[in-house]
């Protein structure tokens, strides 16, 4: 592999890692704060992508579709938490699995019913199409750089919200002792709705921005969910910092292995997970 290919793959790996972080951060946030393992998290990614397809086709503008789809995702998150997840807080994990797996089936049926099973695609918006010259011989698609930049903006905003704002302090406190948060006069159920809606929004956002670079196929949510679990387990369940580091590692390992060792690339991230768990059974950043 020459240097330029190495660099392009590094950029691809980082971009894929950042996208994985976007999805995994929502999964780990919801688990860390609310103790809910949302197996339908990948479905939110899928729904985001299909919504982006639908509204881009409808309005002719990807950016308009971006805003509409993002708002719908937030709404879906609020509705699912208020009407379904709310019944899980005092139940055990098996009930969480049953409900959220049920949601996967429902969202897959909706997807199949509304959009059919043929692969679909979204065009890269004109404003972000084309490539940028990084060096004399390396070009890189602008849209992929846009995705990375957006993910970084989201990561920084999340970091600031969680570490510097009162809402973030309450969210963290809820992670530590939710009864005490309530004792301080905080409406924990509203806090949970906000956190869950943010989680759904982050997964859908990843789906929306991925739409122009992936093909939209049934089952795309499950595939991404499994990669997310690898990220969350490596990073340490509930740790957002862990999810960030793990997502970058997984993104880079996955990308390089598919170029350098295509024979084992489909199992590379699981091998990585196994190795890390041997050394750190709780993941990299478990409290």
């Amino acid at each position: 592999m020459d240097t330029s290919l190495f660099l392009v793959q590094l950029l691809n790996g980082v971009q894929y890692g950042l996208l994985l972080f976007l999805i995994a951060s929502g999964l780990t946030l919801v688990f860390g704060v609310m103790g809910i393992l949302n197996l339908a998290h990948g479905s939110m990614y899928m729904i985001g992508a299909y919504l982006a397809y639908y509204f881009t086709t409808l309005t002719g503008s990807f950016f308009l579709a971006f805003i509409i789809s993002g708002s719908i995702a937030l709404l879906i998150g609020i509705v699912i938490e208020r009407f379904l997840i709310i019944h899980l807080y005092k139940r055990d994990h098996l009930d969480q699995v049953l409900l959220t797996v049920g949601l996967i089936f429902i969202f897959n049926s909706i997807q199949s019913f509304v959009w059919g099973n043929d692969p679909l695609g979204v065009e890269v918006p004109a404003l972000l199409s084309g490539s940028i010259k990084l060096t004399d011989i390396i070009e890189y698609p602008i849209y992929r750089l846009f995705i990375s930049a957006l993910c970084i903006v989201v990561a920084v905003s999340m970091y600031l919200t969680i570490n510097k704002t009162k809402l973030g302090m309450m969210i963290r406190a809820g992670e530590s002792d939710r009864a005490m948060v309530e004792n301080l006069g905080v409406d924990i159920s509203k806090l949970f709705t906000i956190v869950f809606a943010i989680g759904v929004f982050l997964a859908s956002l990843a789906g929306i921005v991925s739409a122009p670079i992936v093909s939209l196929v049934p089952g795309m949510g499950e595939h991404v969910l499994i990669s997310c679990f690898v990220v969350v387990v490596i990073g340490g369940l509930g740790s957002i910092k862990g999810a960030f580091v793990a997502a970058l590692i997984v993104g880079i390992v996955d990308t390089y292995s598919s170029v350098l060792l295509p024979q084992i690339s489909s199992m590379s991230i699981y091998l990585l997970m196994a190795l890390i768990l041997l050394v750190k059974p709780q993941g990299l950043f478990k409290n």
């Binding site: 009162k166 302090m169 309450m170 963290r172 406190a173 992670e175 530590s176 002792d177 009864a179 005490m180 309530e182 004792n183 301080l184 006069g185 905080v186 409406d187 924990i188 409290n287």
Partner: protein, 236 residues
Amino acid sequence: MSNILEVHGLQTLYGASHILHGVSFDIKAGETVSIMGRNGMGKSTTLKSILGIAPPRSGSVIYKGEDITRLPTWKRMRQDIAYVPEGRGMFHNLTVKEHLLMAARKNSRGEANWTYDQVLEVFPRLIERLTNKGTQLSGGEQQMLAIGRALLTNPDLLILDEATEGLAPLIRKEIWQVIRKIKDSGVSTIIVDKNIKVLNELCEMHILIVKGKVVFNGDSETLNENKEFIEQSLAV
């Protein structure tokens, strides 16, 4: 003086075990009241029933003339009640400063009698510990933080459960001094503790709970008159 709190016939169960058997008492606005009793007699459960953490099966809680028996805990707290639980309720992932900032709010009338700076003035020990996590503090410091955090919600009624338990005598003294200061500021306070001597001098009214029932309710003078009975009830 009007009653800030009226508790009528609380019957509370934990699963199958019947803990409170009709607990009733009143607290006047501005009063400092002790609740005494041996372990397992229902003191903490009484507090938790008042706050909705252990909802009573029957009975009622009237706060500032309004029936709050069915309100969720957080809504009661929003009406200017603050609670320092046994065990202090520290957050392992928040710094001392964050504990105070996340709780701070004006009371329901929009007043802030306690500010961040004032709390640190009362608990200067916390100043050196601002960047430490809540669970990294000593027991005494945790207690100070728990009380400081409660004060920053600007309560009219402060409920302290075992605020001096397991602390060194000097720290204990410091905590009592602060509670005296809170009392002087006019906040109504309910204190669950075992130190009769301090409670006798600090509180206007005293409640003794034995096996889920109020067996004594009177002022310090009456308490002294019945000292033998009280001490007998508290002895293990």
